[in-house]
């Protein structure tokens, strides 16, 4: 018995949901509004099982089996191609996604999925440097995080792709390189920087920056924007050498028995008012251009979440890596962390 029929059987036994369609949605944590799902359930007379994850890998570990019981999941852009190639995704039917034109023009034909055959961009973000304006001079480049004056008061992300990415950008090398020579140089840079680094942190860096433990940290724009809201002496910069950009995208799994409802859900998320309500709550950067115009002004004009075009030009999308490069990067990351 497939797990889904098992679950449906269970809920049927419970007696109250018999006959209702059921959609299983697996999304990142803090990526939805409080009313988003209940309103969808009401409008489409269905039930949604909505669960959250903290990392792509956590989601992939479940979805990889091909009978995970999920219908809609939200991989980052660089996992869309690999997931499609391993036959995990269902092709999207654009005739059922009438609201797709609401997408930001920049995300209508993205490099990882030119015609949005498999994925619909949902949120996006970038990494840069958050810092306290009390420290002079303010950092403007990745190279500034190698400066002695920050000794012991900076953190880098605990994320091989981001941290190696910052070092690669500092060196003027491509973000997604698989060249061992490039990666070796980036590794050496990070080992050289390590004595200055207090720790490799992701979300925890925010509190320490707000509390004043840190002078600067490599972090994501969304995290930085939350920190700036909590403490006015903080600021964020998109480093001059360039920076990484990612997008989390909605996809429908091939295993799903609710393709119709899944399309309806994605199309619902694409509605401008729905997408606006979500980001008013999550305070992240929506991929929905029409929704952005409807946001509260503090969010709409937030230059950290929505940097101007001139800044975005320096961004580079993460891309899937060949397995050998992945292995090499992982070994280097272990070497950096144990140096």
């Amino acid at each position: 018995m497939r797990r889904r029929t098992f679950f449906l059987g269970l809920s049927g036994l419970a007696g109250c949901t018999r006959g209702k369609r059921r959609l299983n949605v697996f999304n990142w944590s803090d990526y939805i509004g409080p009313n988003t799902v209940p309103r969808f359930e009401f409008e489409f007379d269905c039930e949604v099982r909505y669960h959250v994850y903290e990392s792509n890998e956590e989601m992939l570990a479940k979805v990889f089996s091909g009978n995970s019981g999920w219908d809609v999941v939200f991989p980052s852009n660089y996992y869309v191609g690999p997931m499609a190639q391993t036959q995990l995704l269902a092709k999207l039917n654009h005739s059922k996604l009438g609201n797709i034109n609401n997408l930001d023009a920049r995300l209508r034909n993205p490099v990882w999925d030119k015609d949005l055959e498999w994925s619909v961009p949902y949120m996006w973000g970038a990494a840069g440097i958050a810092y306290t304006t009390k420290h002079e001079p303010a950092p403007a480049r990745w190279a500034d995080l190698w400066h002695e004056s920050f000794k012991g008061r900076i953190t880098m992300l605990d994320d091989a792709a981001e941290t190696l990415g910052a070092a690669l950008k500092k060196l003027g090398l491509p973000l997604n390189t698989a060249d061992p020579e490039h990666l070796g140089k980036a590794k050496d840079e990070l080992i050289r920087q390590k004595p200055l680094v207090r720790a490799y942190l992701n979300a925890e860096a925010r509190d320490q920056l707000v509390a004043g433990d840190l002078l600067a940290c490599q972090t994501w724009a969304t995290t930085a924007s939350q920190a700036i809201e909590a403490a006015k002496h903080l600021a964020f910069v998109f480093p001059a050498e360039g920076f990484s950009v990612y997008s989390d995208c909605a996809v429908i799994l091939r295993e799903s028995n609710e393709q119709e409802l899944a399309h309806q859900f994605i199309n619902y998320l694409l509605r401008a008012p729905v997408a606006a309500a979500i980001v008013n709550h999550s305070k992240t950067a929506t991929a929905n251009g029409a929704a952005r115009a409807m946001l509260a002004p503090v969010l709409r004009d937030n230059q950290v979440l929505y940097p101007p075009e001139s800044v975005l030009e320096r961004g580079e999308w993460f891309a899937p890596l060949p397995p050998g490069a992945q292995q090499l990067r992982d070994r280097m990351w272990t070497e950096i962390k144990s140096a």
Partner: protein, 276 residues
């Protein structure tokens, strides 16, 4: 009679098979496979993962893990023995103290580790307290170093040291200490020459119970060490998460398990089993 014995042992054997041998078998199988192009595990079967392990990088991390786990066990012993002795001699309050030792287990280890982070941070309770009192001017760097990792490990696994030592001390015949005193031993001498030797089985058992989980720790080095001091547990965890290289992770954890088993076997062979 033999038949009865066979059938009564069936549940135990089945449990052993289902929850130990089968999962271990899967780990062995995975460790011989190859990472798929985007994670997962696939044929061909070979020993490549074990060859990769011979890298000095992983050997250094392994040695470091043994060192950190060893130091943590030593401090847990240093703190655990007097505590167990105190509890064993507390008469009626014994069960209350024992419950207090167990109390931290009621909360998740993760939450308790975060609590330590709040204590040790630059703007944490200890540093702000000391600065308010004027003892220090600059915050002491207490978080994100090896000392913080050892502290977290000792704190986390101390009960595993206290309980076995307590159980040997509890059974200790008080007349032996009286006899030692009658023969002129000072309290210190009788502690060293009567109590400690008799508590040795508990100390050994406690040390093994503390050392093994410390060796595989990954949460504490990550949170209290700030990801700057990697232990072998972190490398294993990373293979199953970010690196998505389950076969390599499986071979790493098998080697770790194997090393621990060999050490225990050597210990028993050298006559250590009389302590167990």
């Amino acid at each position: 009679m033999n038949r009865l014995r066979f059938w009564t042992l069936v549940p135990a054997r089945a449990l052993n098979f289902l929850f130990f041998l089968v999962p271990m078998g899967i780990v062995v199988l995975y460790s011989l496979m190859t990472r798929g192009p985007y994670g997962g595990q696939a044929p061909p079967f070979n020993l490549d993962n074990y060859v990769r392990l011979a890298d000095p990088l992983y050997l250094t991390i392994l040695l470091r893990s043994f060192w950190i786990a060893g130091i943590s066990t030593f401090f847990a012993m240093l703190l655990g023995f007097p505590l167990a002795l105190f509890i064993a001699n507390s008469g009626k309050s014994r069960s209350m103290y024992l419950n207090l030792v167990m109390l931290p287990f009621w909360t998740s280890f993760l939450v308790r580790t975060y609590a330590w982070m709040f204590l040790l941070r630059d703007t944490g309770l200890i540093n702000s307290g000391l600065m308010a009192l004027g003892v220090i001017r600059e915050p002491l760097p207490m978080l994100y170093n090896d000392a913080a990792v050892v502290l977290g490990l000792v704190y986390g696994y101390l009960p595993f040291m206290v309980l076995p030592i307590y159980s040997t001390l509890e059974k200790l015949d008080p007349s032996l200490l009286e006899a030692a005193a009658d023969l002129g031993a000072t309290p210190w001498v009788s502690l060293w020459r009567v109590t400690v030797p008799l508590a040795l089985p508990g100390i050994v058992a406690g040390s093994i119970l503390v050392f093994i989980p410390c060796l595989g720790a990954y949460l504490t080095p990550d949170l209290l060490g700030g990801g700057k001091s990697v232990m072998i547990g972190n490398v294993v965890q990373n293979q199953f998460t970010t690196a998505r290289d389950w076969p390599f992770g499986a071979s790493l954890s098998l080697v770790l398990t194997g090393l621990v088993m060999v050490l225990l076997w050597l210990f028993v062979r050298k006559g250590g089993d009389k302590y167990l």
